[in-house]
């Protein structure tokens, strides 16, 4: 859609009464107020407003959801689901903020950096707590969805 080289130019805005099919891609910010069926990709940020409905994957550095998204979301920076936001799909981000009132049905993934933090925390755990954790792992192996 937009020119990927032009990082300083204006982004893309999809109006509330627009029904769009295809890949919406922009180097700058994308704001969706309408209905999009397809991918939404930005190198900066994607804002899905209250009136928006997106059926397809969303990826950007920063993603803010106040509308409805049916699809996976990848935010390399931050993902925020606002009180009016509804997400049905998996999310991948290192900074996730789900506000009270938001709906999130799916699996949340954290990138490698967070796994390292988890390992560090495990190393610093007392021996008894480690044993207890391992026993719990054996007993329950499930995923919250």
């Amino acid at each position: 859609m937009g020119d990927k080289k032009n990082l300083s130019g204006p982004g893309t805005i999809v109006g509330a009464n627009v029904k769009l099919v295809g890949t919406l891609s922009d180097a700058n910010e994308i704001v969706v107020h309408g209905k999009v069926e397809g991918e939404v990709i930005s190198e900066k940020s994607v804002i899905i407003s209250e009136t928006a409905f997106v059926k397809g994957p969303v990826s950007a550095e920063m993603v803010q959801i106040a509308g409805e998204v049916h699809g996976s979301i990848v935010a390399t920076g931050k993902l925020e689901i606002m009180p009016t936001g509804k997400v049905f799909g998996s999310t991948t981000t290192k900074d996730l903020n789900i506000r009270s009132g938001a709906v999130f049905v799916g699996k949340s993934n954290m990138p490698e950096q967070s796994k390292e933090l988890e390992l560090k925390a495990e190393e610093e755990m007392p021996e008894e707590a480690k044993k207890e954790k391992e026993e719990n792992k054996k007993e329950t192996a499930y995923e919250i969805e």
Binding site: M1, D3, P10, T12, I13, V14, G15, V18, T23, T51
Partner: protein, 251 residues
């Protein structure tokens, strides 16, 4: 050698044109000056300039004049080396800002110092170019399809504007929103800056189709095409003379 195309003038514009000629003469860049008439259109005069072998064609007047000359220059195969100069009649216009001139004297001096810049132009099939803005207007909301290489969008609109770089603004002033504005105004609410009904896209090529009716596409209040239209951004389409950059030294 410069070839000046001046718009036909009446009233105050006659004095303005005389002033232009005087300044150009003082700067030593006076050249052949022609004025369109019912016998010779702007496009014909611009073609004549190309045929005569002028390397610089200068549009003296409105944006309408400039866009017509631009169309002629770009459409002429032999005109690749022709440079466009502009002496605008309005220094608040987008064209004056594009060439970075602030008044008549500045515009004339800019021509003399000849800093060249290659710019992109908007192209509307079959053969129209413009550097300013094209618009499609309707008094009531019209349903349309906008198609680019990557998307197809169905949208209602009242106005669509297309600017160089193929930047498309779509305005949808539906009655619902007007009601909201009135409600906000009546109850002392602030005007809504967050207009959720307007859209903005930028692309390299697009097609606009209006459903059930054809609408005129206007550039400078002149109809240049009718829907459906196919538009393209033509990068590096034309060389124009722009003002030199001024480096201000802090003393």
């Amino acid at each position: 050698m410069y070839y000046y195309i001046m718009e036909p003038a009446g009233g105050k514009a006659v004095a303005w044109q005389e002033r232009v000629k005087t300044i150009l003469g003082d700067l030593g860049i006076a050249g052949e000056t022609v004025t369109p008439s019912p016998a010779r259109t702007i496009e014909e005069l611009a073609s004549l300039g190309v045929v005569k072998g002028y390397s610089t064609i200068v549009a003296v007047g409105s944006e309408k004049l400039v866009n017509k000359i631009v169309t002629t220059i770009i459409n002429q195969k032999e005109s690749q080396e022709i440079v466009l100069g502009i002496i605008p009649d309005n220094y608040e216009s987008s064209l004056a800002k594009k060439i970075r001139v602030k008044d008549l004297k500045d515009a004339c001096e800019t021509l003399k110092y000849r800093k060249l810049e290659t710019i992109s132009a908007c192209f509307i099939e079959p053969n129209k170019y413009f550097l300013t803005e094209a618009s499609i207007d309707s008094n009531h909301p019209v349903d349309a399809y906008l198609t680019t290489p990557f998307i197809k969008a169905g949208l209602p609109f009242n106005k669509i504007t297309i600017r160089p770089g193929l930047k498309i603004n779509i305005f949808d002033t539906s009655s619902k929103r007007s009601g909201n504005k009135l409600f906000g105004w009546l109850f002392g609410g602030k005007a809504q800056n967050n207009d959720v009904y307007s859209s903005f896209f930028h692309t390299k090529r697009l097609k606009i189709e209006t459903l059930d009716q054809t609408l005129p596409v206007k550039v400078d209040d002149e109809v240049i095409s009718k829907t459906p239209i196919i538009c393209e951004n033509r990068p590096k389409a034309l060389k124009i003379i722009v003002a030199r950059d001024i480096i201000e030294l802090n003393k």
